[in-house]
């Protein structure tokens, strides 16, 4: 498979890019933010996403979806990134679908069709502290009656306060088990916090939440592999979104270099800025190729996918971070104003950088996977 979009993928991009740019440009984010929107995204927009079949892109056809791959989902995520569109697409349409499709069984049958039809929003309750440490999950699942009792605290749960169901990772007797916890479960509370990028992420408390045995996603104690699938998909998706954020910031900045005059010249004539912009271009191109490679390996079910996913999250993280920092700097004073969009890119990048493992986490993973 060549590492560029095939004709179908190019067509998908040609329809998704103008759609997102028209329906949910940066002004859409501003409107939600300035009206102190309590949902965290627009349900009208989600309905439009559903009309286009986007929430069910990765859902297998047998469950009412389009059965597409990560390469296709990445096309949507890049546009979401470029336009800073608040959306539950990544957690619902990518992370949750990857876990449910991998697990199969009752919960897949229950939720995959609901995701594809746009009815269900799904939150991913994985992290428990300020940093992403999925190998140290402390939330417990103890057998109770004919089901389980869940106790623990989760953090950084995007859309946790509005999700119809949360995928909760917990420690069971013999390993990790994933549960589908519906929003009305007794003992489940979500405390939403506004983040720097205006998104809403919850601290979720599970205080003796009782679930039936069939709430288990996949098999008891065998959630490790399903969690891996969820993480790989979500990390790759976040990396694709960061490529969009970085590209958006870079395009804005390069345009500004062609407009702003100082010392009687366009500032884009100054070689010190040209070289930095050219360097950034190279980093963004490499990040894009890396993310595509991770998507391709995931779609092929290749063994090398895990390594490439960490490489992609780290590389896209570095490149997008450079793009937003250079973006603000090269805009001068105006880049520091709320009125100008470049600062919003910096904020969104910061949140995505942290999501599902930051650059340092993934660099460390790459070292471990290579035996050092």
């Amino acid at each position: 498979m060549p590492l560029y979009h095939n004709d179908d993928q190019a067509m998908l991009k040609d329809s998704v890019a103008p759609f997102v740019a028209e329906q949910a440009p940066v002004s859409h984010l501003r409107k939600l933010r300035d009206s102190a929107d309590a949902t965290g995204f627009s349900r009208d927009l989600w309905a439009q996403f559903t009309e286009m079949g986007l929430p069910g892109m990765l859902v297998p056809e047998a469950h009412g979806g389009l059965g597409m791959g990560h390469m296709e989902a990445g096309i949507v995520l890049e546009e979401i990134g470029r336009n800073l569109t608040p959306s539950p697409f990544l957690s619902t349409g990518v992370g949750a679908v990857a876990a449910l499709a991998k697990a199969g069984g009752t919960q897949a049958g229950r939720w995959l069709p609901a995701i594809a039809s746009g009815e269900a929003i799904v939150a991913l309750a994985i992290d428990e502290g300020a940093k992403h440490r999925p190998d140290r999950i402390a939330t417990t699942a103890t057998r109770a009656g004919n089901g389980f009792r869940l106790d623990g605290k989760k953090s950084f749960v995007l859309h946790g306060h509005v999700a119809d169901v949360s995928i909760v990772a917990a420690k069971s007797d013999g390993g990790i088990t994933l549960f589908a916890v519906p929003k009305d479960a007794k003992g489940l509370t979500a405390d939403p916090r506004r983040l720097v990028d205006s998104s809403l992420a919850s601290h979720v408390t599970l205080d003796g939440v009782e679930v039936d045995a069939d709430a288990v996603i996949g098999e008891v104690d065998a959630g490790g592999e399903i969690l891996d699938a969820l993480l790989a998909a979500t990390r790759t998706g976040a990396a694709a979104e960061m490529v969009g954020v970085g590209q958006g910031a870079m395009d804005m900045t390069v345009n500004y270099l062609k407009e702003r005059k100082q010392f009687g010249k366009l500032i884009g004539e100054f070689q010190s800025l040209q070289h930095r912009a050219a360097h950034l271009y190279g980093e963004m191109e490499v990040a894009r190729a890396t993310v595509m490679k991770a998507q391709q390996l995931l779609d092929e079910g290749s063994e090398g996918a895990k390594l490439m996913v960490s490489v992609a999250k780290a590389k896209a993280g570095r490149a997008a971070n450079l793009a937003v920092r250079e973006g603000v700097q090269m805009h001068g004073g105006i880049g520091m104003t709320d009125e100008y969009d470049i600062g919003l890119y910096m904020k969104r990048d910061r949140a995505l950088a942290e999501y599902m493992g930051d650059v340092h986490y993934h660099i460390d993973q790459v070292a471990r996977m290579n035996g050092y």
Binding site: G268, E269, Q274, H275, A277, G282, K315, I363, Y372
Partner: protein, 393 residues
């Protein structure tokens, strides 16, 4: 089975039957590289047999058309051949400036007669070429070059000098930029081809900081060049020169991928030792190596995407400048880490254990990567101008 799968099987079997075991060992030094040419001495029988097998099959230049010595493979087939060669760690059967640089330029700009005449000996490793571009006063600002060819009707008489001419003392022929019109800067250069044994050509090796001397000063005193030996049009050699540079940059960028070193940290953990947690026993070096590994794995994906796009005409025509910039800066960083990892042992210059100072010399050699074929700063200038379309660049 798809056609490509069938091709893969066929290639696999052919390699198994034809690639000698010695040619599946990593390249240790310059002597292991097969450059071909009139005066080339094979290091051993295996090197010769491997070249001959590839020549017979067209695999020294697999994507060139068959009449010119290639195998006429499609981009997909070429990729498969490369993958299969890499899988068994097969060495390149033949490396040369003819393959990397002159060949692509002739394929684009040469006449049919020239293609047949010059490409076949390149593919067979019979004629080794060198590149006469840079002059003492014209490096990055190449177009200011002064070497002059005086029109004498059916031939030119060339006078001047070139510098940094890699392997000029070992090459058979030179492709050379010569000014043929002093009144027109860009449209006054002709891309000439001539034999290094021509009367009036002399070379003088220059010693590099690595202690080796692969490049030369090259002098031309009244060298006669027949007026059939030029590529493209007279006075329009700059177009050929630039096109060729694109391929040169693409070739140099390949060093960034790091050959068969899978992971620098993985390689050094063995030598360095690990702590109780199984981590490389120097946390700061470990972190730097891991960050470097991320960049290398990322760059390999970039290399794959670039080649997929380049070979199918999808790449931005200036994107080889980006590849060269990123790849060469990466390779320099690799060798800084190799030196740090090697510690005082890597400082040894000529001991047997150090394989004649291979690490130190290799480290110093890589510093040229971001100079040869156009400097990093020039690459950034080109990206700014041709890709980002920035003003005044």
């Amino acid at each position: 089975m798809s056609e490509l799968d069938a091709f893969r099987t066929e290639v696999r079997e052919w390699l198994e039957a034809n690639c000698p075991a010695e040619m599946r060992e990593p390249i240790r030094d310059e002597g292991d590289v097969c450059w071909g040419g009139r005066n080339f001495k094979f290091k051993n029988e295996a090197q010769k047999a491997w070249l001959e097998a590839c020549v017979a099959k067209g695999y020294t230049v697999p994507d060139w058309p068959k009449p010119y010595g290639g195998a006429g493979l499609t981009p997909e087939q070429t990729k498969i051949l490369k993958q299969e060669m890499k899988r068994i760690k097969a060495r390149s059967p033949l490396d040369s400036f003819g393959i990397w640089m002159l060949g692509p330029a002739l394929l684009q700009f040469g006449t049919e007669e020239q293609k047949v005449q010059y490409l076949n000996p390149i593919a067979r490793g019979e004629i080794r070429w060198c590149q006469g571009y840079s002059e003492p006063g014209s490096g990055s600002d190449l177009v200011s070059l002064q070497t002059f060819g005086e029109d004498k009707g059916d031939h030119w008489v060339v006078n001047g000098s070139k510098i940094w001419t890699s392997y000029a003392d070992k090459a058979d022929w030179i492709f050379c930029l010569v000014r043929t019109d002093k009144t027109n800067k860009y449209q006054g250069i002709t891309f000439m081809l001539f034999d290094m044994e021509s009367k009036g050509v002399t070379t003088k090796p220059i010693l590099l900081i690595s202690g080796n001397s692969p490049f030369c000063e090259t002098f031309f005193d009244d060298v006669e060049v027949p007026k059939t030996q030029y590529v493209g049009e007279i006075n329009r050699g700059w177009d050929v020169a630039k096109y060729l540079l694109g391929h040169e940059r693409e070739m140099i960028s390949g060093g960034g991928a790091g050959g068969d070193m899978v992971s620098i940290g993985g390689a050094f953990a063995k030598a360095f030792g690990k702590n109780a947690a199984g981590e490389l026993d120097d946390p700061i070096l470990r972190a730097e190596m891991a960050a470097f590994d991320v960049d290398v794995f990322a760059y390999r994906a970039m290399g794959e995407r670039f080649m997929d796009m380049w070979k199918t005409g999808r790449a931005h025509p200036a994107s080889s400048n980006m590849m060269k910039y990123v790849g060469t800066e990466l390779n320099k960083r690799r060798h800084e880490l190799v030196m740090s990892g090697g510690g005082s042992e890597a400082l040894e210059w000529d001991s047997e254990e150090s394989k004649g100072g291979a690490r130190a010399r290799g480290w110093l050699r890589t510093k040229a990567n971001s100079i040869e074929g156009g400097t990093s700063e020039v690459m950034l200038n080109v990206i700014a101008k041709r890709i980002l379309d920035l003003p005044g660049a």
